[in-house]
Amino acid sequence: MTVIAVVLVFGFFTYNAQVNMENRGIDFGYGFLSQESSFDVQFSLIEYDGSHSYFRAYLVGLLNTILVSVIGIIIATILGVIVGIARLSPNYLINKFAAFYVEFFRNIPLLLQIFFWYFAALRALPLPQDAEAMFGISFLTIKGLFVPAFIWQNFNIFFYSIIAAIIAIIVIRNRAKRVQETQGKQTPVLLISIGLILILPLLSFLIGGVRLSFEVPVLKQLATTSFIYEGGVSLPPELIALALSLSLYTATFIAECVRAGIQGVGKGQKEAAASIGLTQNQVLKLVVMPQALRIIIPPTTNQYLNLTKNSSLAAAIAYPDLVLVFAGTALMQTGKAIEIVSITMFTYLSLSISISLFMNWYNNKIAITEK
């Protein structure tokens, strides 16, 4: 029964689609991806202009989506953890302040927040020529944030030194764990790790020939009243507004996850840990956090996914993300609705499935192995 119903429904839709496309003179196919796109994107991480293909435009959109998601996830995590811990503070003022933040930002639609930051708050910023320098090198203006660019010499040596430091830290951690399990001795892993990750890159500067210089943005006059900063890295206001609102909004949910996680660890656990003579820090590090993380991680993963999906709201303020570039401009130009919408959806689907698979793997790794 069900099989027949499903087949019938799908058959009906496919038949209609064929008829409709015949009527409108559109042929189905993904060949357009290699055609010349002939539209421009104002902000892209990779080299792109109108002479590149639609597939390249798709990549530009995808990278922009990933960029804003990653920035948002990092800020939201930091802010969320701080607010979540502040929610549990015995200090009445801090507690209420954090609660106010959460209740305030959580109950306002994200789109409204994005509009607010982009159309109201960031529009109040100074014009490039009036901007005051922050720390002497960065400029926050109505046309975006201009920060110095790093110019590396022999960057790959620096990169290898960081990788070497990370590998060394992993080896030392494993060793320290084994030593502790067999002999009961504790090694100051944290201190050694910090030392390693500082010293190795530093060494690469001293003997590896790595040089780092900055390219500071400089004001340049385009016309009599139009100024722009040149050089350095410029972050467009769309990106700033989007990243800011995404992280402020998602941080409230992460804060609640963190709070629930820490509260979810039984009081008896802390008391038991204290009674066997662990210090306050050890209780937090060895008893509370490992258990709290198990509660925190699954819902936080969901929030990361939500953030990634919500980044598609970028289309509303013309940040060139996947939806705007591909499902917007490219769709208008080619008219291939089915192909483009399906590619866009499939991309988001695979993004979220890959994040959730990774998080499931991590979750399984730290889960309690019950007998």
Binding site: T2, N91, L112, F115, K309, Y348, S352
Partner: protein, 480 residues
Amino acid sequence: MSKINFLKPDKSNLYTFLYLGSFLFFISVLDVFLNSFFSLNFIGFLPNFLSFFFPLIVGFIGLYFIRIELSGIKQLDLLNKHINTNNFNAVLSLLIIFIILKSIPPILSWFFVDASFAGDSKDVCTGTGACWTYIKVWMRRFMYGMYPNGEQWRINLSFIALALLGSVGYFATDRFKKYLTLYYVVIYPFIAFLFIFFFISGGPVFFDFSYGIIAAILSIIIGFFIPSKFKFYYFLIVPFALYVLLKYFIFYEELIELGKLDGLNWVETGAWGGLSLTFIISFFCLIFCFPIGMAFALGRRSGFPLIRYISIGFIEFWRGVPLITVLFMSAVMFPMFLPADFFIDKLVRCIIAISLFEAAYVAEVIRGGLQALPRGQYEAAKSLGMGYWRMHIFVILPQALKLVIPGIANTFLALVKDTPLIFVVGLLEIVGMLNLAKTNPEWLGFAMEGYVFAAIIFWIICYAMSKYSYNLEQKYKTDR
């Protein structure tokens, strides 16, 4: 003789410490207060750098002095316990007090003191504060969108009628209580559907609706005089008969066409908008997504592999894509899959898309509740000889739904917050109307007021919903 102790408070010098500390703390707060409210700077003689940190330093020393354990003074102990447990907390408390003091004057002046309320043109907004005149002038558009001014009573009437019908539950006597679920699940949504899609949109279809209403009211009134033995058959036959009678024998429509009666004007859904559209969409999506979600939650736990895989596919698909692409799909891709002459209204397509999208989330929430129930409940129900549907309706779902009230409330909140996204298909609810008003050449530069206004409205709605769900959760909480 006990040692004389200046640095640590004890019984003998407790009051010295208390007065000194309170004085310093008071000075620091007073400094910031005067500075922000009256722009007085009575420590201006200090160097710039020092006068900036002066309140923090002095306040910190003051708090350090009054941090006396077990002083025996109740208020002091409370203060210490809540904002002054250690140095770090003291600094944070001071910072928060200062931030609050500093931010109150600008906010107050923007909102009230320097704001303009009077008048009805842009000229009155000359101050530095907010221009609430803008909101006042555009109020009708923000509430009703492009809906014609003269017809807006229809929206008001529908909402009032629906609110009254919705509050029936509070007045129902015990005799009718058992029918309430049926009423809210079947009859009420149906009435709401009729009201919104026929009364608000008006036009020719409206007459069918009004015949239906007249037929229903007449038959209910007559129904009171019918002996209960025949009531079932009566209600089965008479309303429909009345409806047909009205529709085909009393030529109401022709009277209007001849100009003898005034009818309702047709207002296409594209003209709907503003906050009322937010309500309409949220309302219908809430009603539709719940049963669909429940069906898929049950489907995901079904014993038939095919149903299970379809449910899993459905849920994971909708949960994996952003709502904006779903709306894109409903706008540009969905029409391709329908017969060429078959047209579905934009608003209806939107409601279907959002309902399906949220249904996937509701399904996952309900599945969580189903999984949380101990297997004993299922086994007990089966051992009483209940079938699948009876078991779920009478035993499993009431318990599972009770467990997941917070989750469902969160999903509904997310739904309400997602409604502004319908700008993608060109429908303008309140945020969309704001963006439209903002680009009006006569009213440029008032984006901030508009967004703050909408934010306050949404905040009130969402906060009320979350508080209500919390009450509901407490009400149905049962010990297990």
